[in-house]
C-alpha cells in the first residue's frame, strides 16, 4: 500500500534513476541516493499528468523489441541513404499506405507510430480520428502490402505482448 502510494510507477522511477545517473555522468553512491530521491519525488509530482499509465509487463519483451528496432534502424538507414544518394528523385515510388491497428492503448499506438517513423523508409504521418489506422508514408515501396505486413508482424505483435 505504502509502496503503491509513494512509488506508483516503479518502472518509471527506475528509468528516472537511470536518467539521473546519465545526467550526472557518474555512478557513485551520492549520485544514486540523490537520483533515487528524485526518482521518487518527480513521479509523485507528475502523477496527475499521467494518471492511467499502462501496465507494462515483461522486461525481456521490451528489450527484445528495442534491439529489433535498433537493428532495423541501422540496416534500413543504409538503404535509405542509398535511395537518397543514388536514385533519381522521380524514380522513387513514394506512396501512402494504411496500417489498420489492433492496438488500443495510446501508449502502444504511439510507440508503434514512432517505431515506424524511426525505421527508415516509412514515416507515420497521420492517425485515423478513432485511432484505428495509421497513415504511413513510404519513401520507396513497390510492395505496399509487404510494408503493412512487416509493420504488423515485426512491431505490432511485439508491442501487443508488451502492453497487454
Amino acid at each position: 500500500m505504502m509502496m503503491k502510494r509513494y512509488l506508483p510507477h516503479p518502472l518509471l522511477s527506475l528509468a528516472l534513476l537511470i536518467v539521473w545517473v546519465f545526467l550526472v555522468n557518474e555512478v557513485s553512491a551520492g549520485a544514486i541516493v540523490f537520483g533515487a530521491i528524485l526518482a521518487v519525488i518527480i513521479p509523485l509530482i507528475t502523477a496527475s499528468f499521467w494518471q492511467d499509465r499502462p501496465k507494462v509487463g515483461n522486461v525481456i519483451a521490451i528489450c527484445e523489441y528495442g534491439l529489433v528496432v535498433l537493428w532495423d534502424i541501422l540496416v534500413a538507414n543504409v538503404i535509405v541513404a542509398g535511395l537518397i544518394l543514388f536514385r533519381k528523385a522521380e524514380s522513387l515510388e513514394t506512396k501512402c499506405v494504411v496500417v489498420p491497428l489492433d492496438l488500443t492503448s495510446p501508449e502502444a499506438i504511439t510507440t508503434l507510430a514512432g517505431t515506424i517513423t524511426m525505421t527508415p523508409g516509412t514515416v507515420t504521418i497521420d492517425l485515423s480520428a478513432d485511432a484505428k489506422s495509421l497513415l504511413v508514408h513510404c519513401l520507396h515501396a513497390p510492395d505496399a502490402q509487404g510494408v503493412i505486413d512487416d509493420i504488423k508482424d515485426r512491431y505490432e505483435r511485439r508491442l501487443k505482448e508488451i502492453f497487454e
Binding site: L12, L16, V19, W20, L23, V24, S28, A29, G30, V33, F34, L38, I42, P43, I45, T46, S48, F49, W50, D52, P54, T104, S105, P106, E107, I109, T110, A113, G114, T124, L127, A129, D130, A131, K132
Partner: protein
C-alpha cells in the same frame, strides 16, 4: 517686524474673505476691510517718522546663497505708495461691497484683491530687488485673476490674458535687468544698489540692464507701445479698474522708475528712452481717449496718458521734474480713482457705459455728478483742483527741456497733450453729466447710489479739492519725503501753490483749456474726420498674434511629434550614430590594436555564412511573419553555437532556453496579429532606413572590431577568477559572479522578469470590457485548421518527457554553481517542460492539474532571493553576502551547500512563475479569439477508453 506685518497682513488676511463669505457679504467686506485698515494703521504709525526722514528696515534670510532675502524698508517713496495702495484699497473694498451684485462671488473677489494688495505693498516696501521681482510678478498674477473675475465675459478673459502676457512678459525682461544690475553691484539689496549709481552707469551692462528694467516698467505702466492692454483690462469690474488701473498696479512701473531714479537716471539713454516714451504715451493716450465711447475706455486711455506724463517727468532726469512727477502721482491717484468709481456708479445705475447715450445725468444723480465733474475738472487741469497744480509743474518742466537740440519740441507736444487731456475731460463732464439726455431708454432708471458707494469717491474728491487749495499743507510733507527718497539727495527749490505768477506754463495751460474746449465742440466732425483713419486695433493685433502663435506652435509641434514611432526611432538611432562618431573622432588619438587575432576555422566560417544569409533573409522576407520568426530562431541558434565556440557555455544554454520560450510567445502573438506585413514602405523610406541601418551596423561593427583587436586592460574579472572558488565556493565563475559577486544585478534581473509577467497579466486581465474584448468576441478564425486539437502521439510523448525534463531541470539547477547551468536555465527548462504539457494536452486539462499559482511563485521567488540576501544581516554582513559549507553525509559523500543556492532557488521560482504566468495569460487571449472551451480531456479521442463519447468541438 511691523513692517513685515504690513506686507504679510493682506496675504494672511486673504483667507478671511474666503471664510467669512459664509457669514454674509457684509461680514466678508468688513473682514477684508479690517485687514487693510489694520495694515494702514500700522503704516500710518510709522508715517510721521518717515516724513521726518527716518527709514525703517527689516531683514530675514531666505535664500542667502542667491542674495534673495526678505528685506523690507520704508522710506518716503514707499510710504507714499503704500499709503495709496492701502488707503485707496480700503475705499475700493467699501465701494466693491455695494458695487458687486448678489450673483458675484464676493469672497473670491476680496481674496484676489487682498493678494493683489499684498503684492503691491510688497513691491513698494522691498529692499531686495529679487524679492521685489517676486512681488512684481505676483501683481501680474493677481491682477490676471481680478481682471478675469467675471469669467463668463469673454472680454474679461481675453483682457486678463492679454494683461498677463504683456505685464508678465515685461516682468520676465525685468528679471534679466535686475539680475544684471545685481551682478554689476554685487548685491541684490536696493539700499546697496542705490549707493552705486556711478558704478552702474559706468558699466558696459548699464544699457542692457536699463532697457530690460524699463521694459518691465513700461509694460506694467502701459507705456507706448505696450499701452494696448490697459483698456482691455477694463472688462474687469469697476472696483478693479479703479484700484489696479488707476491707483496702483499701473503705477508699479512708475514706482520702479522712481525707485531706480537715483541710479538709472541722468544719462542720455535714460532721458531719450524714458522721456520720449512718456511724451508719446501722454499725447497718444489722450488723443485716443477723446474718441472712446466707452466711459471706462475713456478713463483708461486717460490713465495711459497721465502715466505717460509722469514717466516723462521722471525721464527728464531733473530733481524738480521728479518732484512734479511725485506730486502728479498723488493727484492722479485721487481724481482718477474717484472718476473710475463714478464711472462704476454710472454703469451700475444706468446699465450702460456708452457715453453717446448719456447727457444730463447730473439731474438724476446729483451727488455722483458733482463728484464726477470735480474730479474730471481736476483731470483737465482746471484751477483750483489738484490736477492743475501738477500739470502746471509738468508744463513748466517741459518748457525748459531740450529734446534733440530742439527746444520747441517738448513744450509744443506737452501742450498738445494737455489740449487733448482737456478735451476728453470736458467730454466726460459735458457729454455725461451736463446737457440734455440723449437716450431716454437707458437700461435702468438711474438715481444716486447708496452711501457706501458714493462715499469713497466723495472722500477722494474732497482730497482733490483740498490738495488743490492747500497743496503745501496737505500734500507738502509727503511730497517732500517722497521726492527726497526718489532723488536720493537734496530737494530742489519748489513751491506747491496754485499761483506762480504769469509763467509760460500758465499760458500753455490756458491754451490747452481753450483749444481743448474748442476741440470738444467740434467733437462730432472730429469723429467723422478721423473715422476713416486706419487705427491699429491693438486687441485685434494681439488676438491675431496669439492665434498666429498658437497656429505656428501647433504646426511646429505636430509636424515634429507626428506620432510615428519610425521617426522617433530613426532620430534616436541617428543621434546615437552621430554622437558616437563625434566622440570617436573628437581627437585623432585612436590607435589600432595589436592583439593577435584568432584563426578562422571552417566551422566558424560556415557559421558566419549561415548567419549572414539568415539575417539577410530575415530582412528580405520579413513580410512573411512566420518565416521571419523561423529565421530569427535560426539566428538564435547560430548565436548560441557561437557562444559555445567562444568559451561561453552558460550563455549558450541561456540563449537556447530563452529562444524557445520566445518562439512560443511570438507564435501565440502571431495567431492574433496579421500574418503578413504589408509592403507599404516607399522607396525613399526604405532608402533612408537602409542608410541609417547600415551606418548603425558599420558603427557598431567597427567599434567592436577596434575593441577586439586590442588587449583587454587589467580587468576586475581577474579578481573574480581568483576568488570564485576559494571565496565564492563555485568553480563556474560566471555563476558565482551572477549569484555572488554581482548577485545584486541578478536580484534586479529576476525582478524584471517578475514585473514583466505581472504587467502581461495586467495587460490581458483588463481586456474584458474593452474594445479588444469586442474584437475578440467577433473574431473569425480564417485559417484552415486541423481537426484534432490534441494529437494523441504528442500527448503521449510529452507525458514521458515531463519527468525527464524535470530531472534535467533539477540537474541544471544543482550544478550551476560549479558547471554551466543554474537557476535561470533550470527555470526555463522546467517552464518549457510544463509548456509542452499545455501545448500537447491542452490548457484546460493541464491547468486543472497544476497545483501551484504562478503569481505566488513570482512573489516567493523574489522573497526567497531577498531572504537569502538578508540572512547575511544575521551574521552582521552586508546584504547578499554568501556563505558555503562542505557537508559530509554517509553514503552520499561530501557536497557543498552554498547560500547562493537559496538565491538561485529564488531565481528559479521567479523564472518559472513569470514564464508560466505570461504564457498562460497570453493563451487566454487566444481562447477568447477561438471561442473554444477549455478541454477536460487530454486527447481528442482515447482509444483505450471505449466509454468515452467522442465530443465535437465547441
Amino acid at each position: 517686524m511691523s513692517l513685515t506685518l504690513i506686507v504679510l497682513l493682506p496675504f494672511i488676511g486673504a483667507v478671511l474673505p474666503a471664510i467669512m463669505i459664509r457669514a454674509g457679504r457684509n461680514a466678508c467686506a468688513i473682514a477684508t476691510g479690517s485687514v487693510t485698515l489694520l495694515a494702514l494703521i500700522l503704516l500710518m504709525a510709522k508715517a510721521p517718522a518717515v516724513i521726518g526722514g527716518e527709514v525703517f528696515q527689516v531683514s530675514y534670510d531666505w535664500l542667502p546663497e542667491l542674495g534673495l532675502n526678505v528685506t523690507f524698508f520704508l522710506d518716503g517713496l514707499g510710504l507714499l505708495f503704500a499709503t495709496l495702495i492701502l488707503g485707496i484699497g480700503l475705499l475700493i473694498i467699501i465701494y466693491a461691497r455695494f458695487y458687486l451684485s448678489k450673483d458675484d462671488p464676493m469672497g473670491r473677489f476680496y481674496v484676489f484683491l487682498l493678494l493683489f494688495q499684498g503684492a503691491m505693498v510688497g513691491i513698494v516696501l522691498s529692499d531686495n530687488i529679487l524679492l521685489l521681482l517676486v512681488f512684481w510678478e505676483l501683481t501680474s498674477l493677481s491682477s490676471f485673476l481680478l481682471i478675469g473675475y467675471w469669467k463668463h465675459l469673454p472680454e474679461g478673459r481675453q483682457g486678463a490674458r492679454m494683461a498677463l502676457a504683456v505685464t508678465g512678459g515685461g516682468g520676465l525682461a525685468m528679471i534679466a535687468g535686475m539680475l544684471i544690475l545685481g551682478n554689476i553691484v554685487g548685491s541684490y539689496d536696493l539700499s546697496v544698489i542705490l549707493q552705486n549709481a556711478d558704478m552702474i552707469q559706468a558699466s558696459p551692462m548699464y544699457v542692457p540692464a536699463l532697457v530690460l528694467i524699463l521694459l518691465g516698467c513700461f509694460t506694467k505702466s502701459a507705456q507706448f507701445p505696450f499701452h494696448f492692454w490697459l483698456p482691455h483690462a477694463m472688462a474687469a469690474p469697476t472696483p478693479v479698474s479703479a484700484y489696479l488701473h488707476s491707483a496702483t498696479m499701473v503705477k508699479a512701473g512708475i514706482f520702479l522708475m522712481a525707485r531706480m531714479w537715483p541710479v538709472l537716471s541722468g544719462t542720455p539713454e535714460w532721458f531719450y528712452i524714458v522721456a520720449t516714451t512718456g511724451l508719446v504715451t501722454m499725447v497718444l493716450g489722450a488723443w485716443i481717449a477723446i474718441f472712446k465711447h466707452d466711459l471706462k475706455g475713456l478713463l483708461a486711455y486717460s490713465t495711459v496718458s497721465h502715466l505717460g506724463l509722469v514717466t516723462m517727468l521722471l525721464g527728464f532726469g531733473t530733481p524738480i521734474a521728479a518732484v512734479a512727477g511725485v506730486f502728479h502721482i498723488i493727484n492722479h491717484a485721487t481724481f482718477k480713482a474717484a472718476l473710475f468709481m463714478t464711472a462704476g456708479i454710472v454703469d451700475h445705475e444706468t446699465g450702460t457705459r456708452d457715453i453717446r447715450r448719456f447727457g444730463g445725468l447730473i439731474n438724476l444723480m446729483p451727488i455722483a455728478g458733482t463728484i464726477g465733474i470735480i474730479s474730471a475738472a481736476s483731470m483737465a487741469g482746471i484751477i483750483p483742483f489738484n490736477g492743475f497744480l501738477s500739470k502746471e509743474m509738468m508744463l513748466e518742466e517741459a518748457w525748459h527741456t531740450v529734446w534733440m537740440d530742439q527746444s520747441w519740441f517738448m513744450p509744443v507736444l506737452a501742450t498738445i497733450g494737455a489740449i487733448f487731456s482737456v478735451a476728453y475731460s470736458f467730454r466726460f463732464i459735458f457729454h455725461v453729466w451736463l446737457g440734455k439726455p440723449r437716450d431716454e431708454n437707458l437700461p435702468h432708471h438711474p438715481h444716486d447710489p447708496p452711501f457706501g458707494m458714493w462715499a469713497p469717491p466723495a472722500f477722494l474728491t474732497i482730497l482733490v479739492i483740498l490738495i488743490g487749495l492747500f497743496p503745501a499743507a496737505i500734500a507738502g510733507p509727503i511730497v517732500a519725503a517722497t521726492s527726497a527718497a526718489v532723488i536720493g539727495g537734496a530737494l530742489p527749490e519748489y513751491h506747491l501753490a496754485l499761483w506762480h505768477g504769469l509763467t509760460p506754463a500758465l499760458g500753455m495751460s490756458i491754451i490747452a483749456i481753450v483749444v481743448g474746449a474748442v476741440l470738444l465742440m467740434r467733437h462730432g466732425s472730429l469723429l467723422s474726420a478721423t473715422a476713416n483713419l486706419s487705427r491699429p486695433d491693438a486687441k485685434a493685433m494681439f488676438d491675431c498674434g496669439m492665434a498666429k502663435l498658437v497656429t505656428v506652435t501647433r504646426f511646429a509641434t505636430e509636424k515634429l511629434h507626428n506620432g510615428s514611432l519610425q521617426r522617433y526611432l530613426a532620430i534616436t538611432i541617428f543621434a546615437a550614430i552621430a554622437i558616437g562618431l563625434t566622440g570617436f573622432y573628437a581627437e585623432p588619438d585612436h590607435t589600432a590594436g595589436t592583439r593577435e587575432l584568432l584563426a578562422v576555422s571552417p566551422a566558424a566560417a560556415i557559421g558566419w555564412v549561415l548567419l549572414v544569409v539568415t539575417c539577410l533573409a530575415a530582412v528580405v522576407m520579413h513580410h512573411n511573419r512566420l518565416l521571419s520568426l523561423l529565421l530569427v530562431g535560426v539566428i538564435g541558434l547560430i548565436v548560441s553555437l557561437g557562444f559555445i565556440y567562444l568559451s561561453a557555455p552558460d550563455l549558450a544554454l541561456t540563449q537556447i532556453s530563452v529562444e524557445v520560450v520566445t518562439v512560443i510567445l511570438m507564435l501565440l502573438a502571431l495567431n492574433i496579429l496579421p500574418k503578413e506585413t504589408p509592403k507599404e514602405s516607399l522607396a525613399g523610406r526604405k532608402m533612408r532606413d537602409g542608410v541609417i541601418s547600415i551606418a548603425a551596423g558599420l558603427g557598431i561593427g567597427s567599434a567592436i572590431w577596434a575593441i577586439m583587436t586590442r588587449e583587454l586592460p587589467n580587468s576586475i574579472s581577474a579578481f573574480h577568477l581568483a576568488n570564485s572558488k576559494t571565496e565564492g565556493g563555485g568553480t563556474n565563475v560566471v555563476n558565482v559572479i551572477l549569484v555572488d559577486f554581482r548577485g545584486f544585478d541578478t536580484f534586479g534581473e529576476i525582478i524584471v522578469l517578475g514585473i514583466a509577467a505581472l504587467s502581461i497579466f495586467a495587460l490581458i486581465e483588463t481586456v474584458s470590457g474593452s474594445e479588444a474584448a469586442k474584437r475578440l468576441a467577433s473574431w473569425v478564425v480564417k485559417n484552415r485548421r486541423s481537426a484534432d486539437r490534441h494529437p494523441m502521439m504528442m500527448v503521449i510523448a510529452t507525458r514521458v518527457m515531463l519527468p525527464l525534463s524535470l530531472m534535467v531541470g533539477v540537474y541544471i539547477f544543482l550544478r550551476g554553481h560549479n558547471e554551466p547551468g543554474g537557476g535561470f536555465i533550470a527555470g526555463l527548462v522546467v517552464s518549457v517542460a510544463l509548456v509542452m504539457q499545455y501545448m500537447a494536452s491542452g490548457f484546460g486539462w493541464t491547468q486543472n492539474r497544476m497545483k501551484v499559482r504562478y503569481h505566488g511563485m513570482i512573489g516567493l521567488g523574489v522573497i526567497a532571493a531577498a531572504i537569502t540576501g538578508a540572512s547575511a544581516w544575521v551574521a552582521g554582513l552586508p546584504f547578499l553576502t554568501s556563505g558555503f559549507v562542505h557537508v559530509h553525509l554517509p553514503i552520499v559523500g561530501e557536497f557543498e551547500l552554498a547560500s547562493a543556492m537559496g538565491f538561485d532557488l529564488g531565481v528559479f521560482l521567479t523564472v518559472v512563475g513569470a514564464v508560466m504566468l505570461a504564457l498562460a495569460k497570453l493563451s487566454q487571449v487566444e481562447r477568447m479569439a477561438e471561442h473554444a472551451d477549455i478541454n477536460r480531456h487530454p486527447m481528442d479521442y482515447d482509444p483505450s477508453v471505449q466509454t468515452t463519447t467522442p465530443e465535437k468541438e465547441a
